[in-house]
Subunit: 368 residues, 2 copies
């Protein structure tokens, strides 16, 4: 950039540089390792600007020089590659009886995945302890912690965490499971650029929406009801607990504190052709389809993603859900697909949500 | 702005100027008529930059000089005022049996409001004819037409209109009633900066959502259902036609092609204490509240606006709707309020939606 300035400029010069940093990072994400000349010719930035920007990014440990390229006329050029290892972020997912902590670096490599059981009445202090331990581990590795997100709201948790993690500029957020899982689907589930709804059953029936690239707050589908007082809700009809109780009438309800094994058992029986299990799945799928119709009629997502436990059972839920969905919506535009991100998609979404700030060129202080 | 440039700059210089034009326009919208010096001191732009920008805006007929200010030390300064008269936009609303065309200028002054009856089977050609007539009127007045929006979707209408209006850069959009009415509420209904849902009953039960300042596509609330095949939908329970039929059992159904007078009659009877009308309103209000609960649980708007015919009947609908809403949602966060924008809010929203491009500094060719 060769702008000279005689006076202060309100349309901030820093913004221009931030934009250009983002352009270089995007080029490298899209095209892989490249020479400075290749970056300049592809982005339209001058070579001098590219040299200055890449110098900055090397200083921030976001790029490294990887050797010489020989595949062109003239002298070989140094090749630059993205190096995401200096920046990390953490997602913590609160599920019934279990906390999951997951950290990724800016390249998206998983740095840690921890599960631990917890006492519900000590939830907040257990979350804080786990967050502190995960943050320490990431920092011991010499990485800058960009942010931490807890999936599942507890109004006073954010303040508590911000204070306990001893980093002034650390972004700490708390969000719903389904919303954060939707973020994970957008960035890691192969649904980039699509309008999507993620439906979660792990902690009540929730939906997370991403429309026009914007993440909307997640919301609850469970309380949906239509009828006089006392009518059943969507949660009563399509919730995972109801499904497990209907599909496994011989199961000890006390064993239902952890839904994972029970849901696996439903899948085993369905696969074996158990009629009780199959009928329960058809019932749940049909009502789930009515919930998906609500989302489709309101905001027309391109894809409806059945998450967590629903994904485990997707083979049996999707036929009934799709049939009901097309009965109540005009066009069969939305596809119903299972999530491929497993049971800790919300933790993953919490972690990856912090990588955006680097993508857009707002890079925190370099580390090391 | 005194930037000199030796080489092409990818972070576009034009963007900086666009941003600064938007800053000046925003200052004048917020503070009213101002001198160049006052604009400079309030925006942080240099006086030279302000002179250049305001010169541009005067050339585009978006500003005019209004005289001298005397209320300061030193020589009096020329005062600049916003002049929105050179730019206009049109909204057309398709309601059962009637088209409404509404044009506003950039100041928001209403330039025309036309109603005309139409034959449903000639709908598209009637819309095109009305759009052409409104566009001609606006242009005869020497104004630049920024855009035209039709409220109520008809997939092939946009192409048809774009071709017929003979202006290459004219933006033509087609959108749902409720979404466009929500836009009107945001800009003209006193709900700026709030997350809002607008519920329309004029052409089926629809909701338009604005969240975090973003307009979401509008969607249908009517098809909601929960139960076995054949269960009533929300539209069956809370739609305006159902309400009119229940509240006015003696009415000739043939008279229901235009709901306006029937809805007025419901209000008259309710005001007189008619028990049939009051019971019908309580029934509709309760189910409407279940629909509002769906919106609240999903996206938590700050305010739920009962639009068009629902607004006419709001005194009787809101108590039942609010009671049902708080039965099915956690917090009584969302307020339920009647729209103050009347029956052509969608046409107004269609028109004002085009003013944004000027607000953000992207100003089309000057006219005149």
């Amino acid at each position: 950039m060769t702008t000279t300035r005689a006076e202060p400029q309100p349309a901030d010069f820093a913004d221009v540089r931030t934009t250009n940093l983002a352009v270089v990072l995007r080029h490298l994400r899209t095209h892989g390792p490249s020479s400075r000349a290749a970056i300049a010719s592809s982005t339209g930035l001058t070579k001098a600007t590219v040299s200055s920007l890449t110098g900055d990014l090397i200083g921030h440990r976001l790029l490294r020089e990887t050797g010489l390229s020989g595949n062109r006329i003239g002298r070989p050029a140094t090749v630059l590659a993205l190096d995401g290892s200096a920046y990390a972020s953490i997602g913590i997912q609160v599920s019934p009886g279990q906390l999951t902590a997951l950290a990724v670096d800016y390249s998206g490599d998983q740095l840690l995945l921890w599960h631990r059981a917890f006492e519900p009445r000590r939830m907040n202090s257990e979350i804080v302890a786990l967050a502190q331990r995960a943050a320490s581990r990431v920092r011991q590795q010499g990485r800058h912690l960009l942010g931490l997100t807890v999936a599942v709201p507890s109004p006073d948790l954010r303040e508590l965490l911000s204070g306990s993690l001893r980093q002034k500029d650390l972004i700490v957020t708390v969000g719903g499971h389904a919303m954060l899982a939707a973020v994970a689907e957008q960035r890691r589930g192969g649904h980039s650029g699509q309008d999507l709804a993620y439906v979660s059953g792990a902690a009540g029936l929730e939906a997370g929406l991403i429309l026009d690239g914007q993440v909307l707050r997640g919301g609850r589908l469970g309380p949906f009801t239509l009828g006089p007082a006392g009518s059943p809700t969507l949660q009563d009809q399509a919730g995972i607990e109801t499904l497990v109780k209907r599909a496994l009438p011989d199961f000890d309800p006390a064993a239902l504190t952890d839904l994972g094994p029970a849901v696996e058992q439903v899948a085993v029986r369905a696969r074996a052709g158990d009629e009780v299990a199959l009928a329960a799945l058809a019932h749940t799928g049909g009502y789930l389809g009515q919930g998906l119709a609500v989302l489709t009629n309101l905001v027309s997502p391109d894809v409806l993603i059945l998450g967590d436990h629903f994904a485990t059972l997707a083979d049996w839920l999707i036929p009934a859900a799709s049939a009901e969905l097309s009965r109540h919506t005009d066009a069969a535009k939305a596809r119903v697909v299972p999530s491929t991100l497993g049971l800790h998609a919300a933790a993953l979404g919490g972690a990856v949500s912090h990588l955006d700030q680097v993508d857009t060129g707002r890079i925190p202080q370099p580390v090391g």
